[in-house]
C-alpha cells in the first residue's frame, strides 16, 4: 500500500490536474488563470516522465517533458503580453468583465 508504484505518481498528477482546472474555472483574474494552466502542464509532465520510467520506453517521455516546458515558457510570455494589452485597454484583468471585442 505505501510502496510507491506507478499509480502513486499518476494519482498525484490527476489531483494536480484537477486543482489546475479548479483554479481556471473559479478565478476571475487572468494571471490566476495562467497559473492554473501551469499547474495542468506540470501534471501532464509528471505523467510523461512517470510512464517513461515505469514503461521502459527509453528517453522519449523525458524529451516530450522538455518540449512541454519550452512550450509553457513561450505560452506564458505571449499570454502575459496579451494580458498587459487588456489591462491597458480595460484597466482591469477580470475576465468576466471583458466582453467587448472592440473598445
Amino acid at each position: 500500500m505505501f510502496q510507491v508504484t506507478l499509480q502513486h505518481f499518476l494519482v498525484l498528477s490527476a489531483i494536480l490536474f484537477s486543482l489546475g482546472v479548479y483554479g481556471i474555472v473559479t478565478r476571475k483574474n487572468a494571471v490566476m488563470v495562467l497559473m492554473g494552466i501551469e499547474l495542468i502542464l506540470n501534471a501532464a509532465n509528471i505523467n510523461f516522465v512517470a510512464f517513461a520510467k515505469f514503461g521502459n520506453f527509453g528517453f522519449g517521455g523525458q524529451m516530450y517533458a522538455l518540449f512541454v516546458i519550452v512550450l509553457a515558457a513561450a505560452e506564458a510570455a505571449i499570454a502575459l503580453a496579451i494580458v498587459l494589452n487588456i489591462y491597458k485597454t480595460f484597466t482591469n484583468v477580470n475576465i468576466d468583465e471583458i466582453d467587448n471585442l472592440k473598445e
Binding site: 510502496q3 510507491v4 506507478l6 499509480q7 502513486h8 499518476l10 498525484l12 490527476a14 489531483i15 494536480l16 490536474f17 484537477s18 486543482l19 489546475g20 479548479y22 483554479g23 474555472v25 478565478r27 476571475k28 483574474n29 494571471v31 490566476m32 497559473m35 492554473g36 501551469e38 499547474l39 506540470n42 509532465n45 509528471i46 516522465v49 517513461a52 520510467k53 515505469f54 521502459n56 527509453g58 528517453f59 522519449g60 523525458q62 524529451m63 517533458a65 522538455l66 518540449f67 516546458i69 519550452v70 509553457a72 515558457a73 513561450a74 505560452e75 506564458a76 510570455a77 505571449i78 502575459l80 503580453a81 496579451i82 494580458v83 498587459l84 494589452n85 489591462y87 484583468v93 477580470n94
Partner: protein, 165 residues
Amino acid sequence: MNYYDILFYLFAIITLVSAGFVVTTRNVIYSAFFLLFTFFGVAGIYVLLAADFIAVVQIMVYVGGILILLLFGVMLTNKITNVDIRTGTGNLLPASIAVGLLMGALVSVMIYTGWKVQPGEVPDTSIKQLGALLITDYLLIFELLGILLLIALIGAASIARRDKE
C-alpha cells in the same frame, strides 16, 4: 517504507498543499509564491523518477522564468498603490462539485487500470542520452522549437509594446 517512499510522500504533500493554496488564496501575490513551492515539489518528483535534467530545467525555466513573468504580470496589472491585489472568485459551488467529480473519475481510472509496469535499468545520468537524442531522433522538433521561441519573443515584444502616442 524506505527512504524513496518517504521522499515521495514528502514531495507529494508539498506539491499538493501548495497547489491547493495557489487556487484558493485570494491574494494574487501569495498565489504566485505558493506556485514556487509547487514547482519545487514537482522538481523533486522528477528526481525521484530518475529525470535529473528535467528537474534542473524545471527549476531554471519555471522558477527562473515563468514565475518571474507571472509576478511581473501581477505587478503591472494591479493598482499597487491602492493595495488591490485581490482576485474575485466566481462559481465556487458548481465548480467544486464538477471538479470533485472529475478528480474522482480521474483518480479511480488511474488506480483501477491494470497498468503494465516494466521498469528498465536506470542510468546514472540522463543528460548524455537526452543530448544525443536531441540531435538525432528529435532534431526537427528541436529546430522547430527554436524557431517557435524566436517567434514568441518577437510577438510578445511587439504585442506588449507601448504605442507612440
